[in-house]
Subunit: 326 residues, 2 copies
Amino acid sequence: MNNQKDKDEFSEPAIKHPSSDELLDVSIIGGGIAGASAAIYTGRYMMKTAVFTALRGGAIIDSTMVENYPGFIRISGYDLMQRVLKQASYYGALIIDAEIKSIEKKEDFFLLKSTTSEEYKSRQIIIATGTHRRRLGLPKEEEFFGKGISHCATCDAFFYKDKIVGVIGGSNTAAFSAMLLSKYASKVYLIYRRDTLRCEPYWRKLLEEDEKVEIIYNANVVELLGDKMLQGVRLDNGASIDLDGLFVEIGSEPSSDLAKSIGVKTDDSGYIIVDEAMRTNVQGVYSAGDVNTASAGLKQLIVGASEGAIAASSAYDFHQRNFKNN
Amino acid sequence: MNNQKDKDEFSEPAIKHPSSDELLDVSIIGGGIAGASAAIYTGRYMMKTAVFTALRGGAIIDSTMVENYPGFIRISGYDLMQRVLKQASYYGALIIDAEIKSIEKKEDFFLLKSTTSEEYKSRQIIIATGTHRRRLGLPKEEEFFGKGISHCATCDAFFYKDKIVGVIGGSNTAAFSAMLLSKYASKVYLIYRRDTLRCEPYWRKLLEEDEKVEIIYNANVVELLGDKMLQGVRLDNGASIDLDGLFVEIGSEPSSDLAKSIGVKTDDSGYIIVDEAMRTNVQGVYSAGDVNTASAGLKQLIVGASEGAIAASSAYDFHQRNFKNN
C-alpha cells in the first residue's frame, strides 16, 4: 500500500457514516483490534455501526513492534491500529471517542450511556472490551513498558536474542513464557513468590531441566532498576539482578463488568462465555477478542481480528432475520 | 511498510530455515492464508517448519481486490499472500513448491510423499488445504473469474454499486449473497435450476419481498456472454440477461482427501472436524482454514489466518510436551 495513495483515495468514507443520534444497527464497545475488525465487517454489511472507544487502538498501541500479525513482517501496534480503524471508518463505521458506562435493555433496542452522559440507541451490541493486565504496582512500571517490560513472550521473545531476561509468575503462562524465552535469550530468571510453581508438572519439569532457566522461589520484585530503560530488578531478599527484559506474567483480568451488568454470563474468571459464532447468552449481544472464552484462549491480534469478523457476521445474520426494514 | 525497506531488511531470514531432508517439527500442507499464518507462528516458536504448496498463496491470489482483511483498506489477493508468505519465510519457515500426495503414520513421525516422489519426515502436520469451488463448467468461466465472475459476495458485493448482477444457486449462501448484493446493486437476478429455493424460508421471504431481486426458477446458465469481461448470460430457456457481475454460488467442496487417508474425521460434507484448538481426532494432526468445520463456518481470510495461529499454538504445546529435545 502506498501511503500517499491511501491519503488521497481513502480520506472520504466509501460508505456514509451514521449519525450518533439515530438508531444504530450495531454498537461496538472497544476500539482495539477485535472491535475495529468487527466494524469493518458490519460497515460493509451496510449496518449502521458505531465504535465506542476510550483509547483508539486499545492496549496494543503501546507495543512498539508487532511481528506476528500476518501481512506485516514488522509494524508498531499504533500504526497497525491506525490502519485498521481507518479501514473501519472508510467502510462506514462511526468512531466515537467515548467510554460507555452503562447499557440498558429496552423493548426494541439497547440504551447506551457514556461517562459524559451522552445517550445512544442500538439494536445490537458487540462487546470487545479486552483485558487489563495485572500490574506489579511499582514505580517506573508504566514508563518501562515497551522499554524492557513486556506482557507477551509470544510477541516479544524474539527481541531478546542472547539477552538476559526475567519472568515474574508461576502459572502456565509464566512457564510457557520462560520456555519460549529460553530459545532466544542467553539466560532466563523465573521469579515466583511461592516455594512451588503452580503451573502443570510437565512445564515445571521442562523448566527444571532447562540449563538456561534459573528459578528463584519465594521472591518478590520490589524495585525496577534503570534510567530510561529497564536494566534490572531488586528482590525482597535483597538481591539485585541485571536484566535486559522483564516479562510480567502475573495474570490479566477481563474487562467484563459492563457485559455482566446486562446479564451476560462469564466463566469463573470473568471471561464472557460465547459460542463459536461469538454469541453471548443475551440475544443481540456478541463478544469478540480477549474478553471472551473463545479460540482456546489464545490472546493474539490475529485471533481478535477473526473473532470480530465472526461476531459481525452473526450480528448481520440476526439483523437480516429481525430488522428487515433496515 | 516501505517496500524498498522490506527488501533490504527482510531479504535474509531472521530464523534459519530447516533443510528439507531433516526431521521437521511441523509440516503445513497448503500455502494459503491459513497455512502461511500457521507457519509464521510455528517459525517464531522455533519449530522446524515447512509449508508445502502447489500454488503459493492459494485460491485468493486470483482475487484482484481484498477489502476486508483488517490492516489493508484495499490490496490484491496476490500482494497480500506475497507479504504473508515472505513473513513466514523470514521467521523460519521453508516454503516448498510441491504437492503432497500421500501421508503415512510411522512410529515417531509422519512420512510425506510429494507428487514428484520426494519424501519428507515430520513430527506433526497442519492441514490447510482449503476448498475448491464447484464450477459451472462453461467456456470462458476461468477467464472471466475476477472479471465479472465472483464466488464471494461478502468480498465483492461492494464493487457492484448501482450495477446489475446475477447470482446462481438456491442455497442459504446464494440467498445471503443475493440479499447482500441488493444493498449495493440496482438489480439482482437469482437464477436457480429448480422450482423452489432450497434456502431457509426466512431467506426466501426476504428475497421475495425485495424489490430489487428477481428470482428466475427452472433455469440453467448455458453460456457466458462477453468479450474480455463478463457482459451477460444465456439461459437454457433461450433468454439472455445483461449483467455486470455474476456470483456463482453452487457450493464448494473441502480438499480433505489427504486428511481422510490418515484417518482424520470429517463431517458429512467432507469438512475436517476440529476442536476449538484446531486439533483433529488424529494425534499430532491439526487443521486450519476453509477445509475445517471451525469458526461457525465463516470462510474469510482473517478467519483462516487466526485458525492458522491457533493450530500452530496447539502444535507447539504438543511439541513442548512430547519432543523436548528439540
